[in-house]
Structures are given as C-alpha cells and as structure tokens.
Amino acid sequence: MTIDAAHDTHGIADVVKAVPGITSLYSAHPGLVTLASRALEKAAATPMIDGPIAVTDTSIKIRVGIDHTRSTAEIGTAVYRAVHNHLNTLPRQYDQTIRIEIASIR
C-alpha cells in the first residue's frame, strides 16, 4: 500500500496537536459528531472516516481550537507548515489543498 495523506490521518492529527497554541482537534467530518456509534460504523465504509482529519481527493480538512497565545494567522500558518512538512515525508506526494478551520478560540 502506498502511504499517502489518506492513509496517515492519525499521523496528521498527531502533528496538528503538537503545534503550540492548539487546544482542540475537532472532527472535520461534517455532521458526524452527532451520529450514534452504529451510524459511525456505517459511515466508516466511506474512505477515511478514521479520526478527526477528513481527506478527499481534493482536500485535507482540519478543524482546530486555539488558545490566546498567538493570532489566528500565526497558529493557522504553523498548522499548515507542520502538516505540509509531515506530508512531504510520506512516500506519495500530496496534491490536495490543506483546509484549516479555527472553530474555537479560548
């Protein structure tokens, strides 16, 4: 199996959580947060419903909460750089857009 972003969502999550200023890593799968576990299992038949990072052919979606230590631009850019650097270590090059949503500041 070729390791790419879609097969390394937990690796991406670990990298995001290690960025200073990150307080939470939320699910980037729309609506899944409210589903019951059985529905989640069913949804898992869809590729990459494994962990909070949502990977498609065109995007890698990440939702985070941040603290008050730095600006949204500084922390958001730090997340992008960390993920970008991590993905460049994988055997298969990524070509998706990295989408980072800051969903809470506290």
């Binding site: 409210t34 600006s71 949204t72 992008y80 990295i98 989408r99 980072i100």
Partner: protein, 197 residues
C-alpha cells in the same frame, strides 16, 4: 429593557442547533462536572462555545445572587432565561472568515462562532457586565472587508454605564486586533439591561 423571547422560537428547542444537543442537556452536563466525559459534546466546538457561555451566565448570576439572596426567584425567572435565549442564537459556527496565509495550497478560516466566543471572552475581562448577543456586520467572508461589531450587554446596578461600555469596546478592540486580522471599523455597544439585585 428587553422583553422575554418566545421560547418556541429560540434555538434551544432546535436539537440540530447544538450539534444534536439542547441547552438543558449541556446544563446537566455542566452540573455533573462533565463526568463521565461525553465525546460528542467534548468534540463539538459548538457545544464547547455553548458551555463557555453557560459558565459565564452562571458566574454572573451567582455574583448577583450573592449580593442579595432574597431576590433569587425574581432574578432566575427573568434575567437568566433572557440572557441564555439571547446568546444561544450565537452558538452556531456561522460564516467562514478567511485568514491570510503565505501558501497557495492552503485555505485557513476562522468561524464566526469562534470570533463571537473571543468577543465574549473579552467581555469577561470587564467588571460588572455580561455580553449578550453579538453580531458581525459586513462581508466577513471577503478578506479585509470592513466589519462592524454590534454587542448587547447587561450592566450591573451601580456600574457607570458609559465607562463600562467604553471598557468593553477597548477590551474587544484589543482582543480582535491581537488575535485576528479582521478589519474592524466600529464596535457598537448597546446596554439594554441594568440589573439591581
């Protein structure tokens, strides 16, 4: 003074508004000191923003009740519900606000809900008031577009209103200029309630 909001029209009765949870459920969760942990609530930014607001309102009501416990019923019947109904309109994530970044292969955004949470947190630094509704007027989905902030606040009896409102404006301005790249052109503060325990 505001009038009580029609309960049937408020989002607390819309389960989808809080990622499938109601304000009552979140209030119970808070009562239980958030144990056992509920992963659905803990992983929902909407619920986290709502919990922060609940804590804020509870702290404010406790402050007022401490001032004169014999007025408890009157305070609980009106003030608490009105504030909760007002701020519950603001829990949703809302629009996505673009955040500048140096890469063309990245899109970074902040939710409107996160910004409202930041504004409320700024309000916490000002003594003697509680922030109610807050809205962001303008084309916030366009980077650099001028934005006007409108905030409703309740001021406690004995606090000078102009001074308190100015302090709130300054606190919000500082928080937004430090943490965001928003082009804020004005911060309107409307004091719509004064509470005397």
């Amino acid at each position: 003074m505001t009038t009580p909001t029609d309960p049937a029209a408020t989002p607390e009765h819309d389960d989808s508004h809080l990622d499938g949870h109601t304000l009552d459920q979140l209030s119970d969760y808070l009562d239980a000191d958030m144990t056992p942990p509920n992963p659905e609530i803990d992983s929902s930014p909407t619920c986290q923003i709502a919990l922060a607001s609940l804590r804020r309102v509870r702290a404010a009501s406790a402050l007022l009740l401490d001032a004169d416990a014999e007025h408890e019923s009157a305070l609980e019947d009106g003030w608490f519900d009105r504030i909760l109904n007002a701020i519950s309109l603001d829990f949703h994530a809302g629009r996505s606000i673009p955040v500048p970044n140096p890469s063309s292969s990245a899109v970074i955004t902040t939710t409107e809900g996160a910004i409202r949470g930041l504004i409320r947190a700024a309000g916490d630094t000002v003594h003697g008031l509680l922030v109610g509704r807050c809205t962001l007027d303008g084309e916030i989905t366009t980077q650099g577009a001028p934005i006007r902030i409108r905030v409703d606040a309740s001021v406690y009896w004995g606090r000078p209103i102009p001074e308190t409102a100015t302090q709130l404006q300054e606190a919000i301005s500082l928080a937004l200029s430090t943490q965001t790249e928003l082009n804020v052109t004005a911060i309107d503060v409307t004091v719509h309630d004064i509470y005397r325990p």
